[in-house]
């Protein structure tokens, strides 16, 4: 009855709550006690309010040990001896936003080929055989602002796995064959990228917000991945390793021996080179209605998007509470108006994405039957506009604060979550006490703060509406949204002049 080898999403299972529905909050290292009451309409007796809420048991979250080497590299050590495993990672600054646009997709290829190529002393396939026989892993990964190597093993294998991981980190041997394999995988993804409505909506809405050529939205094409060479991967690697590395070790390790080992691996590196400042521009979308026709669906994916904020924003606490009121969970305005009261959508949510070092998106989404598209989009637009016109109520403020503050503990209830947060703050240069300050700011948010923040950051006139759906079924048409004629977006996949690597022409 084990689910060994089962791909994650297999097996039908239907849920009360959609996959995109999640609250956008960060954690804080403070516990709170409260009572169960909330401000609600008059009604019959409220027996749940009679149930005592005792003070929360004392909790002293264990902070990782932070070591800063002379060269600027930072090491975090977080012990947890409950289970016999050790996990490690090195986070490396620089990601896909830093790649040459003519070689878009380089970081994706690099992060695959890095691991699958292996090292001069052990190729990737041999490494797979050795690690899997020990139920251990070493993996490499790429993101928009970083790449990483990570590893895990049973405690008894940890020394050997650490040595292997360090060999791969410092001495990869990029192989042309593994780069070709990575290109095939990437090409398959490009050719398939218009099959899934949700994937189209996510990608194209980001392009509307940031611009199609923006480092935060551009996509790899068959031609740009074909342009990537083995020497590009090596050059990327050599440059990336000069950045400020953040090393994290978690689990069942001996603190003295492990600290010595990790120090020895990293302390002889030259002083780190700080990342150059970025000069990105974030003009936001061109307002209007955009449409992508997809013949094989009976549901429209509606995305309403604008430019948002980042977490350094002084009003971030008020914005987080607006998120909760607008789209956070079962009691939010969008959920109640569109799902509960009208039954127009299963998946409906939205708010400001709170990113760390660049403006995120403001995004509201609703998935609704083709013929209800205009109805649902109008309701969602009205709820966005109402952030500036319908006063926030004391009950809404209280509900949002209770929701966020009483579940705060789940941001730091395990030692590995605390380590992840420490690494994240270090990576983005946030102060170690950021979460406590954020928690304190959340507690202080007033109705006036909400109104001011909504006025400052919610701009109904600067939003784009993207609909991916079945054109002939969408009646009434999108021109009924009163935002002008819908503008079609062409998502045809550009074909390179020569066939893509290893694959022959794409079939689209």
């Amino acid at each position: 009855m084990m689910r060994v080898g089962m791909p994650l999403n297999w097996g039908p299972r239907v849920r009360i709550f959609g996959p995109g529905s999640g609250r956008l909050i960060a954690g804080c290292l403070a516990a709170s006690a409260a009572i169960a009451s909330s401000v609600l309409p008059a009604q019959q007796s409220r027996p749940w309010e009679q149930i005592p809420i005792p003070p929360l048991h004392a909790f002293h979250p264990q902070q990782p040990k932070r070591i800063e080497l002379k060269n600027g590299i930072v090491i975090f050590l977080q012990e947890d001896h409950e289970l016999p495993f050790i996990y490690g990672s090195v986070l490396v600054p620089g990601g896909s936003r830093d790649e040459d646009p003519a070689k878009a997709g380089l970081v994706g290829l690099y992060s695959q080929a890095w691991r699958t190529s292996g090292t001069a002393s052990m190729d990737g396939d041999a490494m797979d055989d050795l690690l899997e026989s020990k139920a251990a892993h070493i993996e490499t990964d790429g993101d928009d602002d970083s790449t990483a190597i990570s590893w895990d093993s049973l405690t008894s294998d940890a020394d050997q796995v650490f040595s292997l991981a360090m060999d791969l980190f410092f001495h990869p041997s990029f192989s042309a064959a593994k780069l070709e394999l990575a290109k095939q995988q990437e090409a398959a993804g490009i050719v398939r990228r218009n099959d899934d409505e949700d994937e189209i909506a996510g990608r194209e809405s980001a392009k509307l917000v940031y611009g199609a050529g923006s480092p935060y939205a551009r996509q790899p094409e068959l031609a740009t991945i074909a342009a990537v060479t083995v020497s590009d991967l090596q050059a990327w690697h050599d440059r990336a390793l000069k950045g400020k590395l953040i090393v994290g070790i978690y689990g069942d390790f001996d603190p003295v021996a492990t600290e010595a080992r990790v120090r020895a691996a990293f302390e002889d590196l030259p002083p780190v080179t700080p990342a150059p400042p970025r000069h990105d521009e974030f003009p936001g979308p061109r307002p209007g209605v955009y449409f992508i026709d997809k013949e094989d669906v009976n549901q429209s994916n509606v995305q309403i998007v604008g430019i948002g904020v980042d977490r350094r924003n002084p009003d971030v606490a008020a914005i987080a509470i607006i998120n909760e009121i607008l789209g956070g969970g079962f009691g939010s305005r969008l959920f109640v108006k569109i799902r509960t009261e009208r039954g127009l959508a299963y998946d409906v949510d939205g708010g400001f994405g709170l990113t760390y070092d660049h403006p995120g998106t403001f995004q509201v989404e609703a998935l609704t039957a083709s013929e209800k598209t205009v109805d649902a989009a109008k309701l969602a637009l009205a709820e966005i506009a109402a952030l500036n016109t319908r006063p926030f109520t004391p009950a809404e403020l209280k509900r949002a604060k209770d929701d966020i503050l009483n579940s705060f503990i789940f941001e730091y209830d395990t030692k590995d979550k605390i380590l992840d947060e420490s690494e994240r703050l270090e990576f983005y240069g946030y102060p170690a006490g950021y979460l406590e300050a954020y928690h304190a700011a959340l507690e202080k948010v007033t109705l006036a703060d909400l109104a001011a923040a909504a006025g400052k950051y919610v701009h109904p006139g600067k939003l784009a509406v993207l609909v991916v759906g079945n054109g002939p079924q969408i009646k009434p048409g999108l021109d009924n949204l009163g935002m002008g004629a819908p503008q079609p977006i062409d998502i045809t996949i550009p074909q390179p002049s020569a066939p893509p690597a290893g694959g022959g022409a794409a079939e689209n």
Binding site: M2, Q44, D152, G471
Partner: protein, 514 residues
């Protein structure tokens, strides 16, 4: 930032003491782990499992109801899932301003819906005028009932009290409700959870039915893989409900009534059919009496009988071909026995050796060596485990390659399993990884709660989640060859594929915006 590969369905502390290869220190950890588990069966038949972990002042729970969409009556596919949505709508005490009045109003909604549907379903002589009147009457009754509703109060109280990851999932086999909460809300949770299990009110039912129709559009109708999967199962099964859409066929789920949902509740939501596992900062000594008080409210009752239909042996190969504007995909499935079969672990071994990671046979052959696939997997049990299910294969061809190439390549790998033993190293790798995955699954309160509740339900004793490692260790190379020869035969196979229709979208319409 760190990869985690929790296997939430399996746990194995116990057997690990017997394995000298594992460090003594961890064996001690594991022993202490086992001591933390307390089981209590209440007089109404409901089973409570408490597992203490005092690292942080939080707990997670899983309520595991041994009823899923396989139990939906004929003509009512999607009913178990529809009921699960209802279980978030509150009770006679929460979610209403005046239950006595609301109850009368809800009875009127039901009567109005019955009258509307009776007219709507008339095979001959349906009057559109009358239908319109009945529809208005239904909407008026619905509006009247909603006057008493406090929308989403049940979930709002939970969330305002720190409930995290509030959700539920209905599968073909079972229904699970779960969230995590600060430990000082344990009694509040016990009130909420026992209330909704014992005292559901069919509030806002017909709007929620529309929500579920949207869920169907999202998961199945508008998703190429969802469509393919539904057709594969509908074709592979001729008698058993594993072949029926789990979210429900549109004409059926769109006509489920509140009365049907409440009847499902009466039959299946009885003490003997429910196991609740709680993992976290809880103490059996102080908390069990309180929990017993609340959960004794669930009506007593033995387990209802299981569905008795048995899928007859398949004797002819079947196939589905979908031609559409989607990139190609290939799937196939072979009937296999349920989780209670002595060969259950042999199927786990086969899927591990075929699919787990870059060392797996399908990856190395189809992806790395032949370079014809972007992805290739073999997995089971699918779509459920309680009844005989499928061992399924899935492959995405690389650009320029076809589903039939996937099929042939998969069959060549199957033939290898049938004609030659796997290597000792492959079998050992499966056993080592199975043990490690089980251990990793213990780290997470929610995952552990899921496992405890599931194993208690499926085997009648949570200790089986440890003893399964015994079955894993007994798998031999000869077992794998024997099972492969019995199961992977053409007459037992159903395949389903998407072939890309070369007709460009532009030929259908001018692509103009609506």
């Amino acid at each position: 930032m760190r990869p985690r590969s929790f296997t939430c369905y399996s746990t194995g502390l116990w057997l690990l003491f017997l394995l000298p290869a594992w460090p003594a220190a961890s064996a001690q950890n594991l022993q202490s782990f086992e001591k933390r588990i307390t089981v209590k069966v209440l007089p109404n038949g409901l089973t409570l499992i408490l597992c203490e972990r005092h690292d942080a002042p939080v707990f997670s729970f899983t309520t595991f109801v041994d009823a899923g969409d396989v139990d939906d009556p004929s003509g009512e596919s999607g009913l178990a899932h529809m009921f699960e949505h209802l279980a978030f709508k509150g009770t006679s005490q929460i979610g209403t301003t005046d239950y006595a009045a609301e109850k009368i109003a809800l009875a009127r909604v039901e009567a109005a819906n019955d009258a509307y549907e009776a007219e709507y379903l008339k095979p001959v002589g349906r009057s559109e005028a009358r239908l319109k009147i009945l529809r208005s009457a239904f909407l008026a009754a619905q509006d009247e009932a909603e006057k008493y509703v406090v929308p989403n109060q049940f979930t709002e109280v939970a969330e305002a009290n720190g409930a995290n990851d509030v959700n539920a999932a209905t599968g073909l086999d079972d229904t699970q409700y779960y969230w995590s909460m600060p430990e000082n809300r344990l009694e509040l949770w016990a009130w909420l959870e026992s209330s909704r299990l014992a005292d559901v009110v069919p509030r806002e039912f017909y709007k929620e039915r529309d929500v579920v129709m949207e869920e169907r559009r999202m998961r199945v109708d508008s998703d190429p893989i969802g469509r393919l999967e539904e057709q594969l199962l509908a074709t592979a099964y001729v008698a058993h409900n594993y072949g029926r859409s789990d979210i429900g066929w549109p004409s059926e789920v769109s006509q489920i009534t509140a009365a049907e949902a409440m009847a499902f509740h009466r039959k299946y939501y009885v003490g003997g059919n429910i196991v609740i596992a709680i993992v976290g900062d809880v103490s059996p000594k102080t908390d069990l009496p309180m929990l017993e008080k609340y959960f004794s409210r669930i009506p007593a009752g033995p387990r209802p009988e299981d569905m008795t239909t048995v899928e007859p042996p398949q004797f002819a190969e079947k196939s589905v071909v979908i031609r559409e504007q989607t990139q190609p995909v290939y799937m196939e499935g072979y009937h296999r026995p349920s989780y209670r079969d002595p060969d259950d672990a042999v199927f786990d071994a086969i899927s591990d050796i075929l699919s787990n990671g870059r060392v797996s046979r399908l990856y190395r052959s189809l992806v790395e060596q032949q370079q014809i696939a972007a992805e290739a997997q073999g997995f089971s049990p699918f779509p459920g485990e309680k009844y005989p299910s499928l061992f399924a294969f899935y492959a995405q061809p690389l650009p320029g390659h076809s589903p039939s190439e996937m099929r042939e390549a998969i069959h060549r790998e199957i033939d290898k399993l049938k004609t030659a033993d796997v290597t000792g190293a492959e079998l050992q790798m499966f056993k080592t990884r199975a043990r490690a995955d089980i251990l990793r699954g213990l780290a997470d309160n929610q995952g552990l709660a899921d496992s405890l509740a599931e194993y208690q339900t499926r085997y009648g004793d949570w200790r089986e989640l440890f003893l399964q490692l015994d079955r894993v260790d007994r798998v031999t190379r000869a077992d794998i060859r024997r099972v492969a020869n019995n199961v992977f035969v053409a007459s037992n196979r159903t395949s389903a594929e998407i072939d890309t229709d070369p007709l460009p979208a532009a030929a259908r319409s001018d692509g103009a915006a609506p």
